[in-house]
Symmetry: C2
Subunit: 195 residues, 2 copies
DNA sequence: TAAAGTATAGCACAAATGTTCGATAAAGGC
DNA sequence: GCCTTTATCGAACATTTGTGCTATACTTTA
């Protein structure tokens, strides 16, 4: 993406937009005026047009305050589930510990779990990581999934071989699991770690 | 957090708000009308007041469209830098390729880079992962950092031993780097992966 | 220096938006 | 039944907001 560089005032406006949108509410033209030192709404208006033409922002002329940073992906808040109870629906509201931001159009069907242990070390899923999974996504052999092993949720690679379901770890120190009643809670679509 | 349950229309409005805010722009009262079947702006207005009193949403009376979902963690949009040029400031706007959602109050000083190669495999940072770094954070020996090796940005563990700076990989297949002019762009604070 | 182009300011206006007021309908208690 | 409470509607109003117009200051070019 090669976009023309920004002038001083264009950059001021752009930076204020980024800061404002973090708060959740896009600013109005006059708020931009106050926060950038520009004294005329038409100045801001001209700058916004330039920013839009050059692909820095996106607007919807039908609505007011409808400014978005171009390329900024829509962010869904994915619920982090504290404890997975066998037999209970995953997305029980009272088990939601926190929300994890995730770049997706909608959080529908998505949930997050904290990983315990190093059984998936070799694909870069470490102890303490948070995995994001889609419960509505059909899992195929080879996908990384969240499965139920007894009454414990576990992250493994799903292998289906001759009709036999295997939860395969990605770490030679761990043994494959041959679940008796295999249940797949969701397909892992993302992994998230904080230092 | 024990909040009173929602009536049918209150839930309709709340669900539409959640859906709208994922798109980035809070809706106006009249947009809520159209999408919930409510026929009067004052009906919506009353429902919004109730939702706010009961702690479901937050509003700023000074601005229009300033509705936010209460409790949704503040999400910063961290710029993903396409190419790091030696000597240039990191956060040059025209090098921003994308934005990564990250749970933080502000994206100030934060930037994201795509990882190339497996030199940090053993700490779970894989090829294609996106690391999030803080350029204003003071890095100590032992931290994972983004350093400049010649004119290439690289993710490594920072080791300072007897005054000698070492960029240490976390993979026995790679050799430590002893940079001549060590430069640390930022301390890695997060890692993000999509499948 | 003069001309041309660009950025900004100042103002005006129509549309969008939040809010208020009174009227009507529905629900519940006596 | 009647009264009270609540929810919704319809319309009106003041403010906010986006946009267009012209004028002025500044920069660039010849």
């Amino acid at each position: 993406m090669s976009r023309p560089p920004l002038s001083e005032n264009q950059l001021k406006v752009y930076n204020f937009l980024v800061k404002s949108l973090e708060g959740g509410v896009p600013p109005s033209v006059r708020e931009i005026c106050q926060n950038t030192g520009l004294k005329s709404t038409s100045s801001v208006h001209a700058i916004l047009n330039t920013l839009e033409e050059n692909g820095y922002i996106e607007r919807d002329p039908r609505y007011s305050r409808s400014i978005r940073i171009a390329g900024a992906s829509a962010t869904a808040q994915v619920p982090l589930i504290g404890r997975v109870t066998a037999g209970q629906p995953i997305l029980a509201v009272h088990e939601i510990v926190d929300y994890i931001p995730y770049a997706a159009g909608s959080a529908e069907g998505l949930f997050a779990l904290r990983v315990v242990g190093y059984s998936m070390r070799d694909v870069g899923i470490m102890d303490g990581d948070i995995v994001i999974a889609d419960k509505d996504c059909v899992a195929h052999s080879g996908d990384i999934i969240i499965g139920m092993d007894g009454d414990e949720a576990t992250v493994k690679r799903l292998i289906i071989k001759n009709g036999q379901v295997i939860f395969m770890p990605e770490n030679p120190d761990f043994d494959p699991i041959y679940p008796e009643n295999p249940a797949v809670l969701g397909k892992v679509v993302g992994c998230y770690r904080r230092y």
